[in-house]
């Protein structure tokens, strides 16, 4: 039986309240951390090998260590709760069901690099998570776990919820900072990196919710314990959000490195209606698709990178044999087109162009050169933009065109979609398609 760490309290009644959290040992790690030197916490988290759960997998302790110690500017922690990557729905539950774990983790992180201000940037649609966080912050303030001279330690920390307003790009750390400052979410050119020049010009760390929720556990139980929960350099458990054509979609906490085929066919009960598996997107919509033959891969950062994809946010999207992969590509391109901030030409012009080509292939108006043109466009976008949103479109589109080329060619040859778009799960109800946009 796998140990549940982040989700251990999810079933406890009133898990979001301070009294429940403290009865279960909550804020003990914060007390311990406040008795340590900030540098010791950074060393501990570095030794654990905790890697960022937002998508990039960057070592958290190393990120904290980049903050200059001698800076005379105020330092900031931004907690990235923008959770916009299609397929991802993990941080939402951490905030709803265990908000104090997020706050405690954030407090320890802020203490470790000597920040006195933290903002939890929550996507605007998440009303309940925001309410829970705000109520939890209020409780923490009253108990002197946030605020001035926390528990008599001399350390001050203010922490606030900052709502987003519907922009995927704000999940990118510099766009998030821009948005936190009250601007349009346009990513910044790096360097300077946020650790040096970030929020309000001060040294800033941006960490994902799930990453921070792990910090109290590492303080309590040590770096070795964390490392022992997963493969080398990929320690801990991971929240995997599974959606699509499986019998039991949902959020699962499993050891880092659990094989993907075990997640799909074991944990999630296999395919719906016992249909055949066609493909899996392993880490959110930006990660390259894996075919049914490629899913004997371990779900950790390094194994998926070796398999030509990414762990991303651990959002597993499962597709059965009846799924049209051109339609999937078209839908993803529509999303990235909608979300491009318009700052960089390759993304602003290239992504809508990709979408246009995919719409014409899907609607039977594609030409023979189109798949090649799609690949060329991907090559011209990837690596040529300020932020990774362009890459996030190019990577999955390239993988879909390459791995399912025969489907693209069949659309072009037959001048129609052989499947007819997404499957209607309610075939008994005739639904007239509205204008495809």
């Amino acid at each position: 039986m796998t140990e549940r760490v982040l989700t251990a309290r999810f079933q406890t009644p009133d898990s979001h309240r301070l009294s429940t959290y403290q009865a279960d040992g909550g804020y003990q790690a914060a007390k311990k951390a406040l008795s340590m030197k900030p540098g010791e916490i950074i060393d501990l988290v570095k030794a654990s090998g905790l890697r960022g759960r937002g998508g990039a997998g960057f070592p958290a302790g190393l990120k904290w260590s980049f903050v200059p110690k001698d800076s005379d500017k105020p330092k900031y922690l931004c907690i990235n709760a923008d959770e916009g990557e299609p397929g991802t729905f993990k941080d939402r539950y951490l905030m709803e069901l265990d908000p104090h774990a997020v706050i405690e983790g954030a407090m320890i992180a802020a203490y470790a690099f000597c920040a006195n201000h933290a903002y939890i940037y929550v996507r605007g649609e998440f009303k309940l998570p925001m309410m829970r966080l705000e109520a939890a912050l209020e409780e923490a303030r009253e108990a002197n776990l946030i605020g001035r001279n926390i528990l008599g330690s001399g350390y001050d920390l203010e922490m606030w919820v900052h709502p987003g307003a519907g922009a995927y790009v704000c999940g990118e750390e510099t766009a998030l900072i821009e948005s936190n400052e009250g601007h349009r979410g346009m990513p910044r050119l790096k360097p300077p990196f946020p650790a040096v020049v970030g929020l309000f010009g001060g040294p800033t760390v941006v960490n994902n919710v799930e990453t921070l929720a792990y910090v109290p556990h590492i303080v309590n139980r040590g770096a070795e314990w964390f490392g022992s929960l997963g493969p080398e350099k990929n320690g801990g458990t991971k929240l995997y959000g599974v959606s699509g054509h499986v019998k039991k979609p949902g959020l699962y906490e499993l050891p880092m490195g659990t094989p993907l085929n075990e997640i799909v066919f074991g944990v999630c009960g296999g395919m719906r209606n016992d249909r055949k598996l066609k493909a899996v997107i392993p880490g959110g919509s930006s990660t390259p698709v894996l075919t049914a033959d490629e899913i004997k891969v371990n779900m950790d950062f390094d194994s998926l990178a070796k398999a030509g994809s990414m762990l991303g946010s651990g959002a597993v999207i499962v597709m059965d044999e009846g799924t049209c992969m051109v339609r999937v590509a078209m839908r993803l391109a529509k999303f990235y087109d909608h979300e491009s901030c318009g700052q960089c030409t390759p993304c602003r012009e290239g992504v809508p162009w990709i979408r246009k080509i995919l719409v014409r292939i899907e609607t039977g108006r594609g030409c023979r050169q189109d798949p090649k043109l799609l690949l060329e466009l991907c090559d011209n976008i990837q690596g040529n933009t300020v932020c990774p949103l362009g890459d996030a479109c190019a990577m999955p589109i390239r993988a879909l065109v390459t791995k399912f080329r025969d489907e693209f060619d069949a659309h072009i040859e037959k001048k129609q979609c052989p499947i007819g778009g997404f499957q209607n799960p309610w075939p008994s109800i005739k639904i007239q398609a509205c204008k495809v946009s």
Partner: protein, 168 residues
């Protein structure tokens, strides 16, 4: 058309509290716009002017932010808002079909409001609820694992709410 707007004292107070959280007032822009929109239901130009005045920012600067973020409504919505997700995880489970079903039932296209001003239907991107797809927001509340039957029930409930309790 010029909308006369009046921002209530509670919203004013909430915005003053939010401003105090940041080293510069302009950082309160997005939360302040949310507060004003929560009160008015949308952001008419006059509301944008009001926020600009409150934060001492140029109007164009505020409008630029309003137009960047999809949650800020620059036109008046119906009395209820349905926002249906059609991103990948939802559409694998019927999200696009639900959008079409709603279009058929309400006799409108996404982005439109019913002629009686009751319901605005919007197609939205991923709402972060993919494990319980398909999903839609009804006046900001999540409705998950939807089917045409549950959609019918939701529409019926909205109808009853209005006929029973007057305009809600």
């Amino acid at each position: 058309m010029i909308e006369k707007i009046a921002i209530g004292p509670e919203t004013e107070k909430a915005i003053a509290e939010i401003i105090a959280r940041y080293p510069v007032p302009e950082a309160a822009l997005i939360p302040a716009l949310h507060k004003v929109q929560d009160e008015l239901g949308w952001l008419p130009l006059e509301a944008i002017d009001w926020v600009a005045g409150r934060l001492s920012l140029p109007k164009a600067r505020v409008y630029g932010v309003v137009s960047f973020y999809t949650m800020f409504r620059r036109s008046k919505p119906g009395r209820h808002r349905l926002e249906v997700c059609t991103n990948l995880s939802c559409s694998l489970m019927g999200g696009e079909h639900l959008r079409d079903y709603l279009c058929e039932k309400l006799k409108i296209q996404p982005g439109q409001t019913t002629s009686d001003g009751r319901i605005t239907l919007t197609e939205v991107e991923c709402l972060g609820s993919c494990g319980s797809a398909p999903v839609m927001l009804v006046d900001d509340a999540f409705y998950e694992n939807l089917t045409p039957e549950t959609v019918d029930q939701i529409l019926e409930q909205l109808h009853q709410k209005e006929t029973r309790g007057g305009v809600s």
